[in-house]
Symmetry: C2
C-alpha cells in the first residue's frame, strides 16, 4: 500500500487550508466560491473596459524568460530536460504577453489574462504569498496619445478595489524617467541607477536612515548624494507636486525628468476626469524593481492589516500589513525584445495580486456559511420505494435547466434529506409521497420558512420555474 | 537585441493558431470567446447537478503520480531538481482528486474541476490533441446505493454533448468486472488480463483480425481463446444484452461477470428514467486503458469527422474521426492508495475531452465573425478638442456598470470611431458635438441601423441603461 505523503502536510494560518508541498495549496469548495466571486468582479471590470482575453501555455521556452527579471531570475522553475526544448514555468503574464504580441505581429490590443504563475520564492503564507499563485493582468498595447491608456489602468485598479470592498486603499504613482532624472541631478553615476533604484524600492519596508546606510555603505554613494536623494523621495503630492518639480532648478534642467513630470501632470488631469484623484498619490519614493518599465509606474496599497494567525506555538507576530495588492506601469521596450527586427509596441498594464485579496476575503468570511453549490431544489420522498419517481422528476427538472439534486439512496429518511438541504443551503424541497402521487400532486416545501404548497404533478416543472424566478433569483 | 525564437514557430492546421513550442498553443481572443462559451455550457451543467468545485496545484509530488498510469507514466513532465521535493506536472485531475480526498479525509463530495493537464505525448494537433490541454472532470465520491451516481455521470455526458450541439454521438458502456469475467471464462491466464485488456482497447482503431493477431502472436494466447474473446467483444446492446449474458452458460458461472452484469441491468433501468438510453450502448469491446477502474466504464464518441486540413505541403490525409470526447468510470480503490490506513472511498466520474470539442467549435465558426469584447457603447466625438468631454462621459458610464470604450486619441476622426464599432461589433455610439453639448444633448446612434436619438446630457446615463436593457440584453 502506498503511504500518503503526510510528512509534507502542515496546516497553514487558517484551518481551512492544507498545504502539502511547501508554498502551494489546494482550494476547497468554500475557497473556490470566494475565488469565483472575486474573479467575477475583476472580469466584469475588465470587460466593462472593453478588454478581450487570451491564454498562453503554463511553460515557455527557457530562453524567453532569460534576462527579463534581473536578480529574480533565480526564482524561475525549470522543467527537467527530458529531451526536446528547455522549458520553464512562467514567472509572470507580462513576458508571455510580449512574446505573444511579437510572434503574432500584433500592434494593437487591450487584453486581460487571468492565470497562475510560478516563483521558487520563500512563501509567506500569512500574507497570502504562495509559490503558485494567480495573476490578473490587464494591458493596453498600441501607439496612442500620451497618458490616456495609463489613466484607464489606474481607473481600473480604483474600480476593482472599490468593488471588492476591502477597506481604504491608496495608489502610489511615479515615473521611471523622473527617478532616473532625479538620480542624475543628485549625482548618482549612470551605472548605479538600477541598483540605487532597488534600494529606494525598500523605502516601504525600511526607514530612510537604513536605506541611506545601504546607499552609502553598500552601494558606495557619497553622503551628500544620498542626502539629496533623501530630500526628493520624501515628497508626495498630486498635480501640484508635478508642477512644483517642473520649476525645480535642478530637475527642470534634466530632459528625462521634464518629460516624466509633464506626463505626470497630464495623467493627473485625466485622473481628475475619471474622479479617482482622492486615492492617487504622486510619490517620488515609489521605484518598482522590474527592469522593463520605461515610464509611469504605480502600486496600490491596502490600509488594512491582517491580524496575525493564532498559531499553536503561540507566536506573537504582530498583525502584518497586507501591502501591495496591485501594481504595474508602462513598458515600451519589452515587445521589441522578442521581435527579430526589434520593432517596438508601447504597452502599459496592471497586475492585480489576487492571492492577498483571497486571503483577506477568506478571513472576512471565515465565520460565515458560504454556499458552495447552487442547487435550487432537492427531490425527496417521504416513504420508501419511491426511488424511480424521484429520479424521474429530478431528470425532468434538469431537462428544463432547474438545478436539482437527489440523494443517491434507495430509501433515504425524510429527515436526512431535509438535513442535506439545511447543511448545503438548498432553499426548496419537493417531497414525493404515495398518497400525493395518487392524487397527482407533489408537496413543495420552503426549507427556511417550512411553508408548503401542493403542485400538480403534470405542471410541476412549469410551476417550479415560476416560483424560482419569482422568489429565488 | 534578443532574437525571437521564431524557429519553433510553425503554423498549425488552422491559420488562427500559432504553435511555438511543439504541442502547445496560445489562445487568441476569438478562441477564448469560443472557449468561454463551451466552458459556460459545461459548468452550468455541473452546477445544475449540484456540484461544488475545487482546485489543486499544477504540480504534485512526483511520488503521488508514480504507479498510477501504467505504461503512460513515461509521458509525465518532471520539474528540474532545483533543491527541495521532486515535482511533476499533473497528468490528469483524477489522481490529484484522490490525493485531495485522502489528505483531507473527505468521504463524500460531488465536485467538478476544470484545469490544464500535461502529457509528453506526440501531439496530433489536427485532432485537437496537445501536450498541454484542459480537462473538465465531474466526480461523485461516497458510499451510495449501486449505480445511481454512475447513471448521473452518463446523464451529464448526454446533456453536455446535446447542448454543445456537435452532431450525433453515442456513449459506449462496459464494466471492468464483465471484462475480467469474460477473460476468465475464455481461458486467459490471470496475469494476462491487463495486457489483453490493452489489446481489446485497440478495437476502436484496428480490425478484429489485427487485434486477434496481436493476442496470439505478441501476447501468446491460443487461437481458441482469442476466438472466444472475439465472439464476446462483437456484442452490443442494451439492458436486453445484460439479461441475455446473465443466462450465458459460461459467464453466468463467473462471480465477477455476474456482479457486473447485474449492475449493468440496474444502470440501464436508471438510464431509462433519465431518458438517455437512445444514445447509450452496452459494448463488450470497450476496455479503457487506465489501471484504476474497478467497475463501470464509459466513453462518448462523436459520429462527426473533422475534414482534413488543407496543408501547404498538400497532405492528402483523409478526414480524421474526432473519436472519443468524454470518458470515465468507477474507481473504488484509488483514494485508498493515498490513505495511510488504506481506507477506501468509492468514486465514479467523467472527464470531458474539451480540446477536441474546441477544435470542432473553431472549425464551425472559422468563417463567422465572433465578438471578442462585450462593449456596449463607444463614446465618440464629431469635432476636435472634445477629449475631456469624452473621457468624462465614459467614466460616468463605467461608474454605472455600462461597458464603454473611448479611443485613446486626442482628436480621432468620426469615421475611424465608427469603423472601430463596426470591426468589433459595438452596437451603440454616443457622439459628442460642440453644438449638441451647448444644447445639453448627446446623439446616440445605433451602429447597425444608423438610427439616431438625442439624449439630454444630464440624463444620458439613465436613458442609456434603459435602452441597453430593452434592446441589447
Amino acid at each position: 500500500m502506498y503511504e500518503a505523503p503526510v510528512s509534507y502536510a502542515s496546516s497553514c494560518f487558517s484551518c481551512t487550508k492544507t498545504v502539502y508541498y511547501a508554498g502551494t495549496r489546494d482550494y476547497n469548495p468554500k475557497q473556490m466560491a470566494i475565488r469565483e466571486k472575486v474573479f467575477n468582479i475583476i472580469i466584469s471590470c475588465f470587460k466593462r473596459h472593453g478588454a478581450e482575453t487570451i491564454d498562453t501555455p503554463v511553460f515557455e521556452l527557457k530562453e524567453t524568460l532569460t534576462g527579463k527579471y534581473g536578480e529574480d531570475s533565480k526564482l524561475i522553475y525549470d522543467l527537467k530536460d527530458q529531451g526536446g526544448e528547455l522549458l520553464s514555468l512562467r514567472y509572470d503574464l507580462t513576458v508571455p504577453f510580449a512574446r505573444y504580441l511579437a510572434m503574432n505581429k500584433i500592434t494593437n490590443i487591450k487584453r486581460y489574462h487571468i492565470a497562475k504563475v510560478y516563483r521558487r520564492d520563500n512563501p509567506a503564507m500569512t500574507r497570502g504569498r504562495y509559490r503558485e499563485f494567480y495573476q490578473c493582468d490587464f494591458d493596453i498595447a498600441g501607439q496612442y496619445d500620451a497618458m490616456i491608456p495609463d489613466a484607464e489602468c489606474l481607473k481600473i485598479v480604483y474600480e476593482i478595489l472599490n468593488e471588492l470592498d476591502l477597506g481604504d486603499f491608496h495608489i502610489k504613482v511615479n515615473d521611471r524617467r523622473i527617478l532616473d532624472g532625479m538620480f542624475a541631478v543628485c549625482g548618482v553615476p549612470d551605472e548605479k541607477f538600477r541598483t540605487i533604484c532597488s534600494t529606494v524600492d525598500k523605502l516601504d519596508k525600511m526607514a530612510w536612515e537604513d536605506v541611506k546606510k545601504e546607499m552609502v555603505n553598500e552601494k558606495g554613494l557619497s553622503e551628500d548624494v544620498a542626502n539629496r536623494i533623501g530630500e526628493y523621495v520624501s515628497m508626495q503630492g498630486g498635480q501640484d507636486l508635478a508642477e512644483q518639480l517642473l520649476q525645480d532648478p535642478k530637475l527642470s534642467q534634466n530632459k528625462q525628468a521634464c518629460a516624466g513630470l509633464t506626463d505626470m501632470k497630464l495623467l493627473f488631469s485625466y485622473l481628475e476626469l475619471f474622479q479617482v484623484t482622492d486615492k492617487v498619490v504622486f510619490d517620488l519614493s515609489l521605484a518598482r524593481g522590474l527592469d522593463y518599465y520605461t515610464g509611469v509606474i504605480y502600486e496600490a496599497i491596502l490600509s488594512q492589516t491582517i491580524p496575525a494567525p493564532a498559531e499553536q506555538n503561540g507566536a506573537d507576530e504582530a498583525a502584518v500589513s497586507v501591502g501591495s495588492v496591485a501594481g504595474g506601469g508602462r513598458y515600451d521596450g519589452l515587445v521589441g525584445m522578442f521581435d527579430p527586427k526589434g520593432r517596438k509596441v508601447p504597452c502599459v498594464g496592471v497586475s492585480i495580486g489576487i492571492e492577498r485579496i483571497f486571503s483577506i476575503m477568506e478571513q472576512k468570511t471565515s465565520s460565515e456559511k458560504v454556499r458552495t453549490t447552487e442547487t435550487q431544489v432537492l427531490v425527496a420522498s417521504a416513504q420508501k420505494n419511491l426511488l424511480e419517481e424521484r429520479l424521474k422528476l429530478t431528470s425532468e427538472l434538469w431537462n428544463t435547466g432547474i438545478k436539482a439534486e437527489v440523494l443517491y439512496k434507495k430509501n433515504p429518511k425524510l429527515l436526512s434529506q431535509l438535513q442535506h438541504c439545511e447543511e448545503t443551503g438548498i432553499p426548496l424541497v419537493a417531497i414525493l409521497g404515495e398518497q400525493e402521487l395518487k392524487d397527482g400532486v407533489v408537496k413543495l416545501r420552503n426549507v427556511a420558512s417550512r411553508e408548503e404548497v401542493r403542485l400538480i404533478v403534470s405542471q410541476i416543472v412549469y410551476n417550479l420555474s415560476c416560483i424560482l424566478t419569482k422568489h429565488f433569483d
